[in-house]
Symmetry: C2
Subunit: 188 residues, 2 copies
Amino acid sequence: MPTFTKAAIKATFISLLNKKPLNKITVKEIVEECGINRNSFYYHFDDIPSLLEEILVEEADRFVATESKSNTSVYESLISVIDYAFTNRVAIQHIYNSANRTTFDVYLNRICTHAIKSYFDKLETTKNIAEDDLDAMIMYYKCQLVGFIIDWLGGGMKYDLKIKMKRICELYEGSMEAALDRCAKINA
Amino acid sequence: MPTFTKAAIKATFISLLNKKPLNKITVKEIVEECGINRNSFYYHFDDIPSLLEEILVEEADRFVATESKSNTSVYESLISVIDYAFTNRVAIQHIYNSANRTTFDVYLNRICTHAIKSYFDKLETTKNIAEDDLDAMIMYYKCQLVGFIIDWLGGGMKYDLKIKMKRICELYEGSMEAALDRCAKINA
DNA sequence: ATTGCCGTGTCTAATTTCTTGACACGGCAT
DNA sequence: ATGCCGTGTCAAGAAATTAGACACGGCAAT
């Protein structure tokens, strides 16, 4: 059941992504680094964008499956995403600066949405509010998160996003609970 | 040209060796851990002993190629082998305690011989002594090293071999140079 | 002691994966 | 304008992996 070759392609691609911008990476380079035939690459992937796509989706899933489970507040969820972005900042920047932003955006929105969704999912207080309201709130936090990260990336990651995020979390302490209360009242 | 599967088999085997004694590890366990078909194991290896054999040989080569190059005295060579044994002590003990000592002994002798040989190879003073003398000296240090390690292993690695080794190196400081001098005189 | 279970080692046939070598296309530097 | 280089595609063949079966030996339970 294993095709270790496919995994190896991904691994060397990721390692290259930590060394140079996405648009400088060629299929030729990947397969040479990997020690495989060029056609083996095309056997598994259509091209570099789809390779990237697959990796991003996997990473997103993996992230949601692990890190986002343990958060006990929305703000922890926000921060764990930021943390993740920071750890992988080199590769992320190399993707971001290479104009292939479409797949990256999809990935970023997905991961942010899921991280927040998975937090709301285990909240008791969300059980009795309308689904539309919940979606709206998820979108609210998701856009915030995506916006912060894009801003940070666009500015070359100059400032410490985590500190800024923590500050914002302090400022808006309790606002989510208030919003949930309001939802409950409207529906009643 | 890649068979990543073979590499994966080795990797999971090594990881198992860090968890349990060699004789408790089964082919079945390896392939399940590895997520491959049992026949794929037999495609690459005859059995567990030959898998072990191959890994040990590779490790020995890798060791000689890297660590033993940089040593500037015999004693550094001796100690670098000890160091290596210490880092991998868990796996080594799991092999040693499983009675399959024959391949292990071959490996240990090989690695010790090469480590010392590679040191002598870059010594200027060994250029003008007879090859037989050189072989004898290599064997002298090799047996010492192998003996120390086997003693240490046999005793359950209770004491700190590195410290003992360093002490011995201090005690015999200069003895190798003296021996080389004697060789030169006899031949002259 | 016998039975049944489990892991081993071997085999064959089918399938998947990987390689080889070729080709047309577009970009880009000379 | 020409030549070079990387891309993407294709077909054929080789290599690696799987599936399924079989006989054998060990060993625990009965």
